[in-house]
Symmetry: C2
Subunit: 187 residues, 2 copies
Amino acid sequence: MKVAFVIYDGMTALDFIGVYDPIARLKTMGFIPDLEWQVCACSHEVRDGTGLCFVPTKVGEPLEDYDMIIVPGGVSARTLIDDVQFIDWIRTARSSSIKVSVCTGALLLGAADFLRGKRATTHPKAFEDLRGFCRSVVSERIVDEGEVITAGGVAASIDLGLYLCERIVGPEAREQIRQQMDYRWSD
Amino acid sequence: MKVAFVIYDGMTALDFIGVYDPIARLKTMGFIPDLEWQVCACSHEVRDGTGLCFVPTKVGEPLEDYDMIIVPGGVSARTLIDDVQFIDWIRTARSSSIKVSVCTGALLLGAADFLRGKRATTHPKAFEDLRGFCRSVVSERIVDEGEVITAGGVAASIDLGLYLCERIVGPEAREQIRQQMDYRWSD
């Protein structure tokens, strides 16, 4: 299984890391030993919305050949929806079986035309921005429309990560990973 | 207010980011406009326990002159407690008013002799490792001993971050930040 974590300048780090942690544990805790993940960006360094610097593992390469791509939100998402080059890059993920967003990452999936005809969610303060991109915006923590899964704001990333663990491997894996993360809550 | 986020090879990214997110919002949401934070390490790049690469803002500089230092846990923490050079570096934070750990970061505070005579907590699976470093290990989400605050495993970082927001600025700031993070839970 191959996973792409998309990162970009102005993203919210916790949107990314909250789902990265449980997904990476699918490998380290032995549930999917051959899990491969890449951190994909358009530049050699990426700074989050408050300046924290990450180094991606793939730069400027198409998002093809991934089973799942995960797109965080961030302060820059509302402007990136009009960045043709960036959205064209996100669109290269069209063949991924599962396209996932956290928070305002849903706007980017929407701009890439992945939400057409689907229900979706995002950060509660971005519901209006999302309306034009999907069939209906719903106030749920995680909205699973099969090949597209959207989640609420920032900290919903952890709930989403655990949800994906369960969907991909099953409830026992989810519970073991939740315990190892010392996460108290379960949807 | 000056905050040092300590990072090191083998740390757990969510330990760091879960507290970084709410603390950074103290500045971006206007509660502490002059908040300054640095990401402090001993090397120019830092890889977490599963290979994700961060770039620190301060490399090899003493951890002096910070009001608060925050130390994450990670798979490498149990070996780093015997790394004299690393622990000596952590010890340069002795004059910080608040020394904070997430998860097995408590072992590093312990090895630096910051937990002597104090109650402390860590990841539930590391309770035995912590015993030699403190007065008593307690199974609580957050243990506040005044100048030293320790928290539980990995995802406890978010609860800790919100706790620190309340302690530093007050409950109204905590609640506004919690809402903006779309975090559902409140201790």
